[in-house]
């Protein structure tokens, strides 16, 4: 029983149509994004499903998931939302590290940790191509990404409260 194919048949077919029929493997990354969309993580069943659809082994699918930082395995842990703050050099030159420290202190956690309610994980990430809008963060949530430029601790805390109110926050 291929759950991914069953639940998202039209989307799977649409993804496969983007690549030559003899190169189905090319669909593996879009399929990982699709599998991750609902819960924010890729579970072991999805690895098997994607392997079956693309004609490669589930070990190969897992290795691709592990190589790319935006894919999250079920056992990786973390909250429902990942608030990812760029602290790379150009942003650091504009105060993003002080921002991250103050933001985490206000949340009562360290970078990399999850809030006690299990919803919000704050992560320190590398360049997000928005160095002119530091401090810059993105939220990875229900498989999608949203950008938040020119952040202050106040605006970031307000964003966290908005995320907590989302209907799927208690998924």
């Amino acid at each position: 029983m291929n759950l991914l194919l069953q639940q998202s048949s039209a989307e799977v077919q649409q993804i496969l149509a983007h690549y030559p029929a003899e190169h189905r493997r090319a669909a593996v990354m879009p399929l990982l994004f699709l599998a991750q969309r609902t819960t924010g993580r890729v579970d072991s069943q999805a690895l098997v499903d994607i392997a079956e659809i693309t004609g490669i082994s589930s070990t190969d699918v897992a290795s691709i998931m592990g190589f790319y930082t935006l894919f999250h395995a079920e056992e990786d842990g973390g909250g429902r939302f990942r608030v990812q703050v760029c602290t790379d050099m150009p942003c650091a030159l504009r105060g993003s590290r002080q921002f991250l420290a103050a933001f985490c202190e206000a949340l009562g956690i360290q970078p990399g940790q999850t809030t006690p309610d299990g919803l919000i994980t704050v992560e320190e990430v590398k360049c997000l191509a928005a160095c002119d809008h530091a401090p810059f963060l993105q939220v990875q949530g229900d498989g999608e990404l949203t950008d938040y430029p020119d952040q202050t601790v106040e605006s970031a805390l307000a964003l966290v409260e908005t995320l907590r109110q989302k209907p799927w926050a208690r998924y």
Binding site: L128, D132, T146
Partner: protein, 413 residues
């Protein structure tokens, strides 16, 4: 005030809407090419314009297109929208605000090499931009500008977006191809070059977003017009991404040949807090660090002139470092970036970035020592010319230049 050529949305804010783009000359170049020209005409026009790749390497675009053999089919064109070099944020603005000019450029590139499918590889962090591009591609299909029998001709073309998922290395063109094919983003051995054996083993052109965004202008207005802009060595305009310790960071579209001093003072509004400028990284985290003396500041920003003072213009991601920046700390940050992003395929890069990170951790933690500085320089120089792709080499540029030009920051008197 001269008109914007690439950041046209700054003159026409609604140009991200298809009817507005078309009402302002959009797709006239594509229509002209399809109805009145042969693919080779478009290729020759771009070749004659002297357009050079804007992604960093500066390779002549038309020449790159001409490498595709007409004996192997199909051909593919891939737009590199993986923009990941720290300090670079120009493609994000084009894709978000002037997307149709980029798409038209990609479509002209496809026509020029007779490709019937084009892929746009976007870094995963550009998810929202990919969703918008998908909508725009659908609009173009509805308008008869993509799909079968485009504009009544027998040309067929389809475009697809493909999202990466957080890996700097996928901006390297062969790693990018691996990533589209559903593999780890690790560079391929060359030869064969992508022009002969690229995506799915077929002849492939890979161009940066900004490069492609120039193409409609060149086809529309001609190679001679294009060469009136910029310098003889570097024709056209360039988007300079200005960041770091500067009052007004942002993208500045300027002709090649404007000096660093003009960019910093006139456009960037000077250094934050009125401090003194210490150094410049003209090509993002991969740059050789240039001491910001008068010679550097008065250097015109074009490929040849920046190379003449020992630097690289790269993708023109100009990071400004002021007197408050300690170079051991800065190098510690760039090295950690490359250590994180090293794909692990080749040993010099995997091990070299690891050890440079360890050594610079000590140096940056306030324990500058001549011994560690010497060891750091030794590791960096052992990596040079030994890595599989440019990433390993890039990781050493700031290290070697900072040690040479700012030894006092590393405890060397």
């Amino acid at each position: 005030m001269t008109e914007y050529l690439l950041l046209r949305h700054r003159d026409l804010p609604d140009i991200d809407q298809l009817p507005i783009y078309r009402a302002n000359g959009g797709f006239a170049a594509f229509e002209k090419a399809l109805k009145t020209q042969q693919p080779v005409d478009v290729l020759n026009t771009v070749k004659a314009s002297g357009l050079r790749g804007r992604g960093g390497a500066g390779f002549p675009t038309g020449t790159k297109w001409s490498f595709l053999p007409n004996t192997i089919w199909p051909h593919y064109v891939v737009a590199n929208a993986d923009e990941s070099e720290p300090g670079t944020f120009k493609d994000r603005e084009i894709l978000e605000r002037n997307p149709f000019q980029f798409l038209e450029g990609l479509m002209l590139a496809c026509f020029a090499v007779q490709a019937q499918a084009g892929y746009i590889y976007l870094r995963g962090e550009f998810w929202p931009l990919a969703q918008k591009l998908n909508q725009r591609i659908a609009e173009l299909e509805q308008a008869g500008l993509l799909g079968d029998h485009i504009l009544g001709t027998d040309y067929t073309l389809r475009l697809y977006t493909h999202l990466g998922a957080g890996a700097y290395i996928c901006g390297e063109e062969t790693a990018l191809l691996e990533s589209i094919e559903g593999k780890l983003g690790q560079p391929r051995l060359r030869p064969p070059f992508p022009a002969v054996s690229g995506l799915f083993g077929k002849p492939t052109v890979i161009n940066n977003v900004e490069t492609l965004t120039n193409v409609p202008l060149i086809v529309d207005r001609g190679a001679d017009w294009f060469k009136t802009l910029g310098t003889e060595d570097s024709p056209g305009v360039k988007i300079f991404s200005l960041s770091g310790r500067i009052n007004r960071p942002g993208n500045y579209e300027l002709p090649f040949g404007v000096t660093f001093r003009t960019l910093i003072d006139q456009y960037g509004g000077g250094i934050l807090g009125g401090k003194a400028v210490k150094a410049i990284m003209p090509a993002g985290a991969s740059s050789t660090i240039l001491v910001a003396d008068d010679r550097t500041l008065d250097t015109p920003m074009d490929y040849k002139s920046v190379a003449a003072i020992g630097g690289q213009l790269g993708s023109a991601s100009v990071i400004i470092l002021d007197e408050t920046v300690n170079m051991a700390d800065l190098v510690n940050q760039t090295v950690h970036f490359f250590k994180h992003e090293s794909c692990g395929k080749c040993t010099p890069c995997r091990e070299g970035t690891y050890w440079m990170a360890h050594i610079t951790d000590r140096l940056a933690a306030g324990q500058p020592s001549p011994q560690d500085a010497a060891l750091l320089g030794s590791v960096a120089r052992q990596m040079q010319n030994k890595c599989l792709c440019a990433l390993g080499e890039f990781s050493t540029m700031a290290v070697v230049s900072a040690l040479e030009k700012f030894p006092q920051d590393f405890g060397i008197s």
